[in-house]
């Protein structure tokens, strides 16, 4: 029996010929990423070493990435002190992949990693963030772990006790209609299989739609794989992956890519034809509460958010700017835009998008995660309704358990900003 993509990655990372679903393995880690919660990993890392007489040195300073993105610039003395302590640790340990609060190289971790070439196809990536699944877009087996598990990785260099997960094959065929894209696809899939439909499993994406999708789009679908409970999302790497790494990430070394075996065993296959897909909306308060836009069109919106690790890339900002250029954000609605990284921010500035959005009335904030999880800027008031390109609509998510969050694509968000109500971005619809 052949192997799925993740089986192949894990076999390689364990130095084995093959691994079977359910095997317990301890794969070597290629990249271990943390953001501000690296503070917790640091505390646990020091605790592991307590009383051992062993100097607490991390296993490999070149394979750990620390990116400040959740609360930047620090919103409180507590956060600033956490960041200060972690910054000192980074210095002491010689951690090389460190992205501080900076306008040149800062931004959201899940965009920093790909655009700096830190993620390679076939690698094992762990992160103390559930949206680490994003990096499956580049063909890595990438999954979220907790701080204590990260402390174990920093100590030993491998993840302990990983059960080889079963894989669900998602075959995406057809052609996206105008105004419909990757975000609609992933929301539709989550609605179809439920928020725990892929729990403990991997979503492996195939089909002509995935083949012709940009890396940016692949990052959207892998990012939200976790919202179906998936351990990881995977797009088997191809020519697009190689050109992204070369042209966007500046990777010059030779990269070997591989595919899942043709006779790999999948626990389930999900077929999706996107040809008749309409813009999708996830309604409060669960991500699998998904419907076509017609059902909720006209719902009044108090705050629009475009950004996050899901939809803060240049094509997302461009989509919003092109819709809003020369128009105005409705005066009953606030619009916040968070480009995912400063590299994206600067490109959007050069292309005039930031100016277009600002003139339309949108507030373009600095790159960061804060608004999405309600920890820094952009909280919503009691009873208010948000429409966001982010990834979670849980109760309390945007800083207020009395708020309501709808999730959508950048095109829907921008079209709705003009009208102040949920609006179909497709012309004449």
């Amino acid at each position: 029996m052949g192997m799925t993509y993740v089986q192949k990655v894990l076999a390689k990372a364990c130095g084995k010929e093959s691994v079977a679903v359910g095997d317990v393995v301890e794969p070597e880690v290629d990249l271990a990423m943390s953001h501000e919660n690296g503070t917790m990993a640091m505390n646990q890392f020091l605790k592991i070493h307590e009383g051992t007489g062993i100097k607490p040195d991390i296993w490999d300073p070149n394979r750990i990435a620390i990116i400040f993105d959740h609360r930047i610039p620090a919103e409180s003395a507590k956060t600033a002190t956490n960041q200060k302590n972690l910054r000192a640790f980074v210095g002491d340990q010689g951690i090389t992949k460190f992205h501080d609060v900076r306008g040149d190289e800062g931004g959201i971790c899940h965009q920093i990693l790909p655009e700096n070439g830190y993620v390679r196809p076939g690698g094992v990536v762990v992160g103390t963030d559930s949206h680490t699944t994003s990096h499956g877009a580049l063909g890595a087996f990438a999954f979220g772990i907790g701080a204590t598990e990260m402390a174990a990785v920093w100590t030993l260099g491998h993840v302990l006790n990983v059960e080889v997960p079963a894989t669900i094959k998602v075959n995406v065929t057809g052609k996206f209609p105008e105004g419909v894209g990757p975000k609609d696809l992933i929301l539709h899939l989550i609605g179809k299989i439920s928020s725990e439909g892929a729990n403990f499993k991997v979503l492996e994406f195939h089909g002509e739609v995935i083949k012709s999708m940009s890396t940016s789009g692949r990052l959207v679908i892998c990012n939200m794989a976790v919202e179906a409970g998936a351990t990881a999302g995977i797009v088997p790497p191809d020519e697009e992956t190689l050109s992204y790494l070369k042209d966007e990430a500046g990777v010059t070394d030779k990269i070997v890519i591989f595919s899942p075996d043709a006779d790999a065993e999948y626990i389930q296959t999900v077929e999706i034809d996107v040809s008749s897909l309409v813009p999708q909306i996830a309604c409060p308060h669960t991500i699998d509460n998904v419907c076509g836009i017609d059902k909720v069109a006209g719902t009044k919106i108090d705050q629009i958010v475009v950004g996050s690790c899901t939809n803060g890339r240049l094509d997302d900002i461009e989509t919003a700017a092109l819709i809003l250029k020369g128009k105005k954000v409705n005066h009953g609605t606030r619009m916040l835009v968070f480009p995912a990284t400063w590299r994206i921010y600067r490109r959007a500035m050069k292309l005039g998008y930031i100016g277009d959005l600002s003139e339309a009335g949108a507030v373009v904030c600095n790159p960061g995660c804060g608004a999405c999880l309600g920890v820094h800027q952009g909280a919503i008031g009691d009873g208010e309704v948000a429409l966001a390109t982010t990834n979670r609509n849980f109760k309390g998510r945007m800083g207020n358990p009395k708020g309501f969050i709808y999730l959508c694509s950048p095109a829907v968000a921008a079209a709705s900003a003009i009208t102040g109500v949920i609006t179909d971005p497709r012309g004449g619809k």
């Binding site: 919660n37 505390n43 592991i48 302990l160 409970g229 309600g374 849980f394």
Partner: protein
């Protein structure tokens, strides 16, 4: 034996268990105060120390979905609650086990607030209703971490063994 002190439905996210706005609080000694912070009744009882250790929190499907924030497990561990659910989300389950939080996977659990529960081997007894429910054992890989007393101790042992060899 302990009482069910809290009963929740499907898809209780880590944002509900430990709201994001408290995420700058990281020390396991400080996280418990924010447990289910948006439910002032339950949170108030915890902070008033009215909930004894060993009490049961009963969830349903996909308990602990969402973020990887370890505070969601460390806050519950701080109160020494026993968490029962039909199904847990992966990262939360692993975090709980890593921190030594008692997590019981019980696919058919029926229990209401106030019921007395007892763990008897691989069975969860509802003393109040007289019904018994089978517990799904943790796979050996996770059980090994529990048996070691959590992932800190488990990793420390491995570290010492690797340095010796």
């Amino acid at each position: 034996m302990g009482k069910v002190v809290y009963k929740v439905g499907d898809d209780v996210s880590t944002d509900i268990i430990y709201p994001g706005r408290f995420m700058a609080t990281v020390l396991p000694t400080e996280t418990p105060q924010h447990t289910f912070a948006d439910d002032s009744d339950f949170n108030g009882k915890l902070n008033a120390k009215e909930i004894p250790a060993g009490s049961f929190l009963v969830g349903n499907e996909n308990f602990g979905c969402g973020s990887s924030r370890e505070q969601a497990a460390s806050c519950l561990k701080g109160w020494e609650l026993i968490i029962v659910a039909k199904r847990f989300a992966r990262i939360f389950l692993q975090n709980g086990i890593n921190l030594g939080l008692q997590m019981i996977v019980c696919p058919n659990i029926e229990a209401d607030k106030g019921d007395e529960l007892e763990i008897a081997g691989d069975v969860l007894k509802n003393i109040t209703t007289g019904k018994e429910f089978k517990i799904t054992p943790h796979p050996p890989a996770r059980q090994a971490i529990i048996d070691a007393g959590g992932l800190i101790a488990f990793t420390r042992t491995r570290l010492l063994a690797e340095k010796k060899s």
